[in-house]
């Protein structure tokens, strides 16, 4: 798998709205129809690293009767990175498709 694709997956998972860690993992699993799964052990180090780079920002929120959760949202910088990585990814996929001979309709 292409380097940086995990980052791309996480960034796009929280593009629409902030989500907590488990939510992010489930969303990625659902949208990939179970093809891509994230375990906590690989997800959280990655989240922390993205946060450290300033692409996403985590914040604790509390709802009545629930434990506090940490919600991650995209920072403006993360949004830029997402846009760039997305276009790079499209180009990459297109190139791979061409290379393996998949024809577009």
């Amino acid at each position: 798998m292409k380097k940086g694709s995990a980052e791309l997956l996480i960034l796009s998972a929280i593009e629409a709205r902030p989500r907590h860690g488990y939510d992010i993992a489930r969303r990625i699993e659902e949208r990939s129809k179970g093809t891509v799964t994230f375990h906590a052990a690989s997800l959280y180090p990655l989240l922390y690293r993205l946060e450290h780079r300033g692409w996403i920002a985590g914040r604790w929120t509390e709802h009545r009767g629930e434990r506090r959760r940490r919600l991650y949202r995209l920072t403006p910088e993360g949004r830029k990175v997402l846009a760039r990585q997305r276009s790079l990814w499209r180009a990459f996929v297109k190139a791979i498709d061409r290379a393996v001979g998949v024809e577009h309709a």
Partner: protein, 880 residues
């Protein structure tokens, strides 16, 4: 539901983050597992299956804790602006970022600040004293045009401070290149009662007074702080017109403006106060002290006998010192032509050199040591920055990959260094200012003479410059290196490290070289002080009470002498007094010998003659080497017996037996030698002079009484003072412990100062060096964790790894040691040229310095090297 929290906490046991962050991470992962468990149950899984399945989320990943810790612990990254925010706002961002980086690394910040504070602090402290002695302009206009006259003996080349009046006249008459001579003399009061005095809570105190010629202040180019100073129109007002020192004006008159221009009364004496000298004024003569009152002296008369100390002239603008010197010599030769008794050649001396004869070389040496310390501190800072630069390297790489400009990357690091330098320098100046008085008390005054010393704005500016230069010059190098990294290689965690190891080790060598040199220099400088201060003085001032009698005005000379004898007798009767005597010029009083003995051909004075009463030798611990000392019976029976010092015996009689021999003082008095005693030092910084001791002539009434007591009991001084007052009513008595007086005047024997110079500077150098070696080795270990892991995995023992690292540390230490020894060889010549009686061929000091540094270096290397043994090879290899 299983206790996920406990299981997660156990799983992440190795996190070692700060408690709050660690709790957050555990909370978040616990929440994740709970969510997963509930989800599985909701999809119909059995609880035990769900528990196993949920836990699989955290299985595998042996380095999970470390991975999380490494991200959560790392420094915050600067916001990278791709927007147009530039100029000042961007600078502000970088400043804030630099500040945040420093706050996030308190260990580094504190160590770096401490290093700068200490190194700059040592420099400001030494500079505060050295500045006055070495650099600060003398408080005279165009001081480089001024010169002090001394007289050089034609045979010995030694300079005498007394210039004969005959020379001064000749110079005034015949030297167009120099101004008229200005003179400074002690005041000859007609009687002690005429001396100006003031009342203090401790009883009447005399006002120290000097007399100057009317042109004196004009030649110096000094302007009055209030009123005016003397000028040529004051002729005829000698002994009446006066100016006050600024300190005395404040002390005696509370800075009252109305006294200026009016008549003032000090005791029985009245003066017309013309003005006040500027604060900080010092007389260009080491003998002048700090007089409170300066009166006008009559111009040097043509018939006046004798001479004056340290007369001053101003060399005309554009005239070279050599030409002025030639003129002065020519003028003197007109006086000496055809005269047998030749006082010598007048010499124009540099004012500063004369003012600080001992202080300058010693201060220069101390300053050199301080600069070395500064270099050491800077090298350390460079090391620390390097290590820090490496830690932040991955961040740097990421930001470079994201398109940050290299300049922008360097700036926060540069600002960080700037902040550290500024902070450290300010702390250093503050620390010096606060501790300066305590510090100065440890320094013998001989080191700085009469100069005003203290922390002033010049020192502050220099400290700031030092701190900033040191921090930025050495902070920018690692910053530049960090910015020069290969981003891609670094993100892949490879390369980019060797180059920094290569800088680190030469830095260690540099530090070791400097440390060896500084420690050796400290030992040598300390010993120079010790040799100046601790050369056997030949007498003992322990438990000796010194009594000076200021006689009432109406006493004749003979009466005065009788009064002294009475006090000596009274003290001799005290049970707590072991011995009591009196002498004219006692050692360290600053007085010249009472009389002199001329050479057999009637030429130069070869031996000083001290008038001493029997009992003096016993009181000051002068044991006879041969024969005997003076005894009370000599007063009547043999008034012309004399005791010689060993060097005087040699001067007068060579290898012949002096006992029983006779000598002549050249003025008709003939002495018979009865004994020889040891040599006595009269000045702290001068060689001993040959001396003869003889009974004073009956009319000699100026003697200092010394009494050796059995114990230094607290009440003794006031009792003796009362005795003296009772015996000689109306006398102005000074009674003190002699050693206190000597210590105050000369700082002679001040072991605390040696300790301060020696251990302070050397310990600092050693500490800094150890710190530098420590950080380089720690850095080596950190940079080569993987290599160490591999070595361990293929069977290297932890002990052999420590050995390997130690050997790598010892190589630069050895190189540094060799360089240090070369540095010492070179510095030795400097020290020998500069210092009075310095012993630099000192193998013991050399060995001590080397061994200390090597041991400290090895210890500093061992500590971080041990960390290598804690590497788990499995972790390291798995990370590959």
């Amino acid at each position: 539901m299983p206790d996920w929290r406990a299981r997660v906490a156990k799983r992440l046991a190795g996190l070692r983050l700060d408690p709050a962050t660690e709790r957050e991470v555990i909370d978040e992962l616990t929440q994740h597992l709970e969510d997963r468990y509930r989800d599985l149950l909701a999809r119909g899984a059995r609880p035990d299956t769900a528990a196993v399945e949920a836990w699989r989320e955290l299985e595998g990943h042996p380095r999970l804790s470390r991975e999380i810790a490494s991200v959560r612990m790392a420094w915050p990254l600067a916001p990278i602006q791709h927007t147009a925010r530039g100029g000042l706002p961007a600078l502000w961002d970088d400043l804030v970022f630099a500040w945040r980086r420093l706050r996030h690394a308190p260990g580094f910040t504190v160590t770096a600040l401490l290093t700068i504070t200490l190194t700059v602090g040592v420099n400001t402290a030494i500079l505060s004293i050295a500045d006055a002695v070495l650099f600060r302009p003398l408080p005279y206009a165009d001081a480089d045009e001024l010169a002090i006259l001394q007289v050089r003996d034609r045979k010995s080349g030694a300079q005498s401070t007394l210039t004969p009046y005959s020379y001064l006249h000749a110079i005034n008459a015949a030297c167009p290149s120099v101004s008229d001579v200005g003179g400074l003399d002690p005041v000859q009061w007609p009687s002690p009662a005429a001396m100006p005095r003031i009342d203090t809570p401790d009883g009447p105190a005399s006002v120290p007074t000097m007399a100057v010629t009317s042109n004196y202040f004009g030649i110096l180019g000094v302007l009055a702080a209030r009123g005016r100073l003397f000028n040529d129109n004051d002729a005829g007002r000698e002994g009446r017109a006066a100016v006050l020192s600024h300190a005395a004006w404040l002390r005696i008159f509370g800075g009252d403006e109305s006294v200026v221009g009016n008549t003032i009364t000090l005791g029985t004496a009245t003066f017309d106060l013309l003005g006040v000298l500027p604060p900080g004024f010092i007389f260009p003569s080491p003998f002048a002290g700090r007089p409170s009152l300066v009166v006008l002296r009559k111009p040097f008369g043509p018939e006046e006998q004798g001479g004056t100390f340290h007369p001053i002239v101003r060399i005309a603008k554009g005239v070279s010192r050599e030409r002025a010197q030639a003129e002065v010599e020519a003028a003197a030769s007109t006086v000496t032509a055809g005269v047998d008794e030749n006082p010598g050649v007048p010499v124009l001396n540099d004012v500063r050199t004369l003012l600080y004869p001992v202080g300058r070389p010693i201060m220069r040496l101390l300053l050199a040591a301080a600069v070395f310390i500064l270099l050491l501190g800077c090298a350390n800072l460079a090391n620390m920055m390097l290590v820090r630069g490496r830690r932040g390297l991955t961040d740097t790489a990421v930001r470079l990959a994201l398109g940050a400009s290299r300049g922008r990357l360097i700036r926060p690091m540069f600002l960080e260094a700037l902040m550290l330098g500024l902070g450290g320098a300010l702390l250093a100046v503050g620390l010096t200012a606060v501790t300066f008085d305590a510090l100065l008390r440890q320094v013998p005054p001989v080191a700085y003479g009469r100069a005003d010393v203290g922390v002033d704005y010049r020192v502050l500016l220099i400290a700031l410059a030092m701190g900033l230069t040191c921090a930025t010059a050495f902070g920018i190098v690692p910053a530049w290196r960090a910015a020069g990294v290969d981003a891609i290689a670094l993100i892949r965690r490879r390369g980019g490290r060797g180059s920094q190891v290569r800088i680190g080790r030469p830095l260690v060598a540099l530090q070791v070289a400097i440390a060896v040199a500084v420690i050796f220099g400290a030992i040598v400088a300390g010993r120079a002080f010790v040799s100046v201060l601790n050369v056997p003085v030949g007498f003992s001032s322990d438990r000796v009470v010194r009594v000076e009698l200021g006689m009432p005005a109406d006493l004749s000379r003979a009466d005065r002498r009788a009064a002294i004898d009475r006090v000596v007798d009274a003290l001799a009767r005290r049970p707590d007094v072991e011995a009591v005597g009196a002498a004219g010029a006692v050692p360290f009083s600053g007085r010249a010998p009472d009389a002199g003995v001329r050479a057999a051909d009637g030429g130069a004075l070869v031996v000083g003659l001290i008038y001493a009463l029997p009992g003096y030798f016993e009181a000051v611990g002068l044991q006879p080497h041969r024969g005997r000392t003076l005894v009370p019976g000599d007063r009547a029976a043999n008034p012309d017996v004399a005791v010689l010092s060993s060097s005087a015996a040699k001067t007068l009689f060579g290898d012949r037996d002096p006992i029983g021999a006779h000598f002549d003082d050249g003025r008709g008095r003939r002495f018979q030698v009865v004994g020889v005693v040891g040599d006595v030092r009269n000045f702290v910084d001068r060689e001993t002079a040959p001396l003869a001791y003889a009974m004073p002539p009956p009319e000699r009434g100026l003697l200092t009484i010394v009494a050796k007591t059995r114990t230094r009991a607290p009440g003794v001084l006031s009792e003796i003072k009362a005795d003296a007052r009772r015996t000689v009513p109306g006398a102005l008595t000074t009674v003190e412990w002699w050693e206190d007086g000597i210590a105050a005047n000369t700082g002679y024997r001040n072991p605390r100062f040696q300790t301060l110079v020696l251990s302070g500077l050397a310990a600092l150098a050693l500490g800094l060096t150890a710190l530098g070696i420590f950080s380089v080795i720690a850095y080596l270990v950190a940079a080569r964790t993987r290599e160490m892991g591999v070595r361990l995995a293929i069977g290297a023992s932890p002990r052999s790894l420590v050995g390997l690292l130690l050997r790598q540390a010892l190589a630069p230490i050895a190189i540094g040691l060799a360089a240090g020894l070369v540095l010492i060889q070179w510095g030795k010549q400097l020290a020998e040229a500069q210092l009075f009686k310095v012993e630099t061929a000192d193998p013991l000091a050399l060995i001590a310095a080397s061994v200390t540094v090597v041991l400290a270096g090895a210890a500093a290397a061992y500590w971080p090297a041990r960390r290598a043994t804690k590497i788990n090879p499995v972790d390291v290899l798995r990370a590959e």
